[in-house]
């Protein structure tokens, strides 16, 4: 360990790591003796390419990116689990990792015994854990289950125990991967409150998640990784928009910076979601009418312009995409996409819009993002409202599944 960092400080300096992916997973002694070919079974994957980051104590940083972008590798390198090929990765002070639910739990151990085991794995001693165990047990809400072997636990109970341990071990740095998505809403709220509390006490958080909602709740800063590189580092709303754009492009070749020449020929100046009465609103019930209204501004005459719109779920799945030809655009115009009957079910969605002239570079389609929250309704689950009706023994219920 060179140059000592302040507790809670995190530094990645030109961190580089390549993984050799083998088509046939494990090596054997036989292979070592009987050398076949010249190692053509290797394929190299660059998980991190000279990634440099500096995170100050007390910061909460969200790490987002598509699958395979290098998020989990970054966390594993920060935690010191995976060594770097070159560069440096360091965390100041005590680090606690929550990378997988129940990693290192002894299945035959009770919840209470596992608290000691897990604390020990993170380098805490018996007394330090004994001081906190009652808080951990209380926070986990496991009640009598705390003295039963964890092999009888549900995944929700695993999460509660794992998070309770991590949140009470007063680490300077918390590295958390994806797992807050499990568990019920009320426990999640409690977790976020506890994280906020820990950060007030000066702890640093790095959170990997596919869920922009979770990132938005706790993080002020977002780092977007793509292809092992940092493609965005900054304020959270802008970062999530950038991430969204990445998801929208096939090859991920999107750039965070605007093309040279002072910006695109055509851009979305304003975006609003309007209800049936024309009032801006972001929360809707399934089945309601709404309109997506955008104001486009052309810097110069944009020929054969196209406006595009897409809706994605919180997890980034594409729910709907459409575009329309606008002809030649000059100055400012207003474009609306009207939805007579919202066919989405409960959840939080991202509505992204963009506009470009025909000769615009590909991969910069989406420009602006609005959040659409759909409330709960009776009659179905999932994301799409299929507007079906049930028929029993030839007798139609004459009822729409959802209103």
């Amino acid at each position: 360990m060179s140059a000592a960092l302040a507790p809670g400080e995190i530094v990645l300096g030109k961190a580089t790591r390549t993984f050799r992916v083998r088509r046939d997973r494990s090596r054997t002694l036989k292979e070592l003796v009987v050398r076949r070919g010249s190692g053509a079974t290797h394929a190299a994957v660059q998980a991190l390419r000279e990634v440099s980051l500096r995170i100050a104590p007390g910061e909460a940083v969200g790490l987002v990116g598509r699958n395979g972008a290098g998020k989990s590798s970054t966390l594993a390198c920060l935690a010191g689990i995976v060594p770097l090929d070159s560069g440096r990765a360091q965390c100041g002070g005590r680090v606690i990792t929550l990378l997988e639910l129940g990693a290192g739990f002894g299945p035959d151990f009770s919840g209470r015994e596992n608290i000691y085991l897990n604390g020990a794995l993170h380098g805490f001693g018996r007394e330090e854990i004994a001081e906190r165990i009652e808080d951990i047990v209380a926070f986990s809400e496991l009640g009598e289950f705390i003295d039963l072997p964890v092999k009888v636990y549900s995944s929700g109970m695993f999460l509660r125990l794992g998070f309770s341990i991590a949140a009470h071990l007063d680490a300077d740095v918390m590295l958390i991967d994806e797992i807050l998505a499990v568990g019920d809403e009320s426990f999640q709220r409690k977790c976020f409150a506890r994280i906020a509390q820990r950060m007030e006490a000066g702890a640093t958080l790095v959170l990997v998640s596919h869920d922009p909602g979770a990132i938005e709740r706790v993080c002020r800063r977002v780092v977007v990784l793509d292809g092992g590189r940092v493609t965005f580092d900054g304020e959270v709303t802008e970062g999530l928009l950038h991430y969204h754009r990445l998801l929208g492009t096939e090859d991920g070749a999107s750039r965070s910076s605007r093309p040279a020449g002072g910006g695109p020929a055509l851009e979305v100046a304003e975006l609003e979601l309007l209800d049936a009465d024309g009032h801006p609103r972001s929360a809707y019930r399934p089945g309601e009418a709404l309109a997506v209204r955008m104001r486009l501004r052309a810097r110069s005459e944009a020929e054969r312009a196209v406006a595009a719109l897409e809706v994605r779920s919180e997890r980034g799945e594409l729910c709907f995409r459409t575009d329309t030809a606008l002809g030649t655009v000059e100055g400012e115009i207003e474009v609306s996409f009207e939805v007579p009957r919202l066919a989405l079910l409960e959840g939080s969605y991202d509505v992204a819009v963009g506009a470009h002239a025909q000769d615009a570079p590909a991969g910069r389609l989406l420009d602006r993002l609005a959040r659409l929250v759909v409330s709960r309704a009776e009659g179905g689950e999932g994301i799409a409202d299929l507007r079906g009706s049930w028929t029993v023994a030839g007798r139609s219920t004459q009822e729409e599944a959802l209103r």
Partner: protein, 258 residues
């Protein structure tokens, strides 16, 4: 290192629990195993074949067997231990040596329980207490160093080359038969006119001097020679040192390859 003493203790507890599943019969079975082997071999070599003309032959056998069972079981359990704990290695940072070391330690505990049973039996059979018995402490400590070093080595080797465990399993059976457990090397009729073969069996097999030393102290109540003690001291220290070095060299990418 001190910081992780508590971790080590917890890992040993976890191994013990997993191995014995909290049932009393579980522990008992591990103690019964060498006793059953002892009975079978005593029947074959002493009663049926009549090759073993050794007083208190079952005790003689038992002492050798518990050393061997400790050695073999520890290596067999340690070899797959890193692979079995892949989730832990990939997700938490801690000294990975703790995994094979805790597995070997659990075997040591079983071994110590067997010794605690065998020692009073040996004392009762001989009817005298020799101070040489105290040598058991350093001999067992060196034996543990030897087993621990090899456990570290086979666990990290198995993580890299997945056929280490089956190869080890296959090698242990012939290894058992060339180790002087049924008879002392000098009692073997085949080595009388072939001194080199006797020396080979006695000194080329590093576990043989350990078996012999424990047996001399516990069964015969006499001290092994200085050269013999020096051998096991060197073997114990070298195995541990080599095991640690190999582990350090090969553990780097464990989180990636498991």
């Amino acid at each position: 290192m001190l910081r992780y003493r508590f971790l080590f203790e917890q890992m040993v507890r976890r191994e013990l629990r997993q191995k014995y599943k909290g049932s009393a019969l579980g522990v008992l079975w591990y103690l019964i195993n060498p006793l059953v082997l002892m009975g079978a071999y005593a029947l074959v070599f002493s009663v049926l074949l009549r090759v073993a003309d050794i007083p208190d032959y079952p005790l003689f056998l038992l002492v050798g067997l518990i050393v061997w069972v400790f050695f073999a079981q520890a290596l067999l359990a340690a070899a797959p231990s890193l692979v079995q704990n892949a989730a832990l290695v990939r997700k938490v940072r801690f000294p990975r040596e703790a995994i094979p070391a805790s597995v070997a330690t659990v075997q040591l505990i079983t071994f110590l329980v067997m010794l605690a049973i065998a020692t009073p039996v040996a004392l009762a059979v001989r009817g005298t207490f020799e101070p040489a018995l105290l040598l058991l402490v350093p001999i067992v400590a060196l034996l543990f160093c030897f087993v621990l070093g090899l456990s570290l080595a086979v666990s990290v080797l198995h993580a890299h080359y997945r056929d280490v465990e089956p190869v080890l399993g296959a090698a242990l059976l012939p290894w058992f038969f060339v180790t002087p457990i049924f008879l002392r090397v000098e009692d073997l009729p085949g080595v009388d006119d072939r001194q080199w073969l006797g020396d080979l069996l006695q000194w080329a097999n590093p576990i043989a001097p350990f078996v012999d030393a424990v047996r001399q102290v516990l069964y015969a109540g006499s001290s092994p020679g200085a050269g013999h003690l020096a051998y096991i001291a060197v073997a114990g220290v070298m195995a541990l040192g080599g095991g640690i070095l190999l582990f350090r060299r090969m553990e780097r990418d464990l989180a990636v390859m498991l």
